[in-house]
Amino acid sequence: MTRRLVQCFSRINGPQTLGRGLGFWIPFAFVLLLAFAFPMFSDDYTTGNVAYFFTWLFMAAGLCLMWGYGGTLSFGQTAFFGIGGYTYGVLTINFGADNGMTLYALAASIIFGAIMAGLLGYFLFYGRINGVFLGIVTLAVSILLERFMAQTAGPQWHIGEARLNGFNGMNGMPALTIPWPGGDIVLLAGLGFYYVVLCLLLFVYFGIRILVNSRFGNVLVAIRENPLRAEMLGYDVRKFQLGAFVIGSALASLSGVLYTCWGQYITPSSMSLTSAALPIVWVAIGGRSDITASLVGALLTLIVFQTLTVNGAQYALIIMGVLLLVNVLTAPEGLVLQLFRVRLKIRRRN
């Protein structure tokens, strides 16, 4: 048992992930320390804002797994983001927040997102729909969900007590609430929520590092490199692609739930064409084929995007587009990944 655990953790440093030595882990520990200390020298608004950035990173991690490692480009991340958010809203509005209900709702929303992804993925992968067609179908699903939810404005559109509210979206759902002796802890978009999301993010980050360096991850990378050869090594390619798709989509659902908890609202525009494209921009800019590069890239891009939105209003999306073009032309593997590699080369030369 202990040997298995040690073997499992040794995979954190496997060949599919950059950053294996002390040169990586010491700065990593420093950044982590900084992240944990951040609320101490920051106001509530900024802490909540950073927590908001973190909520999106799960979706980026999921896309990195399925696209960067598995070679499956999905535009459907925001569909599962929306499914997660709306499911959490419907469950918590109907059943309240007492007795840890919000935690059950969080788990149920992720599971529901994963089941939906399993169904969609089954027809896609077992129907041998790959490449650009998979992108088109997943984009269509996102837009379909957005259009559907946008027309649910009438009072007839409700699930139990929960009104879907059309384009204005659903609101009024309770924040994450942890049952505690002497009074429940309500994790509003501040300090508590920040730490919960940070811990979840760490858990997902290490989980993905272990996963991509496992046998499953090796096969996933093999499929990205050459699916026919992977099949001719006796692997059922469809099963592995479906597995990555379900995990990636479940992470998008987690993003959706956390976002909904953070703002206590969810709208159909979170599944729109623009929203569907953004995760691809975040992951591509960082470097899709490595989880660390993807997450760092996504976080930086989110910060830049928000700054642009606040200061430049309507030009933010155009600048993001230009950024993506520049990135693709100058560092097609991703800017952060490129920087990692340059640093590695310099160290080797020295």
């Binding site: 096969v219 050459n226 099949e231």
Partner: protein, 239 residues
Amino acid sequence: MSLLQTVKLNKSFGGLHVTDDVNLTIETGEIHCLIGPNGAGKSTLFRLLLGEYAPSSGNILYQGEEITRLKPFQRVQRGISVKFQVPGIFKGLTVRQNLEIALQSRLKSKELQEEAQRLRAFLQLDGSAEERAGNLSHGQQQWLEIGMAMSLKPRLLLLDEPTAGMSPEETHMTGEMIMELNKSGISVLAVEHDMDFVRQVAHRVTVLHFGKIFAQGTIDEIMASEEVAQIYLGEPAYA
């Protein structure tokens, strides 16, 4: 019982009959070469055996088991392995990773490392473990792919033009490699153009022409056949 047998195998694309009632048998322990002029249907037959194409009619039996409707990965799991004409390797990964991914389906950590090292030595890729597979020479890429196919410990190895693009020296070395594999108990079916290679390795040869089996026999019998020379070489037989 033959290791692999096709029974009245047919494949048509629209009105084009590419594989025509082919009854081919591969016996255990043999190196069988499939030759024929361009357009003879060799590649189609190869893909039918792999499971990439579904036959229009007919059956494929492997060790007596019907495998006609099995998916390619299911055929591989039963002991059929393949090497493609264009090197089917993972070019973005290192030589070590290529072999480890191939080996991980049947071996665990320590045995896997030992077997990977043994294979690298056999493939003369000992010094290239951390090299990206895409940076290897064409011949080395072909050998790496043979190594990956061998990693599965197959009973039958299907080779599609294993010496395509190789120098005469590399071709000869590949031939020796394949004969050594055969000695270890692996039967081989190779689609090949290079007659020197066929002469070097083949126990039996099948000639395909217009999708049909035109002739079968030892390499000497095939080379002595005037009809084969006419359709395949376009000239009278030579001794």
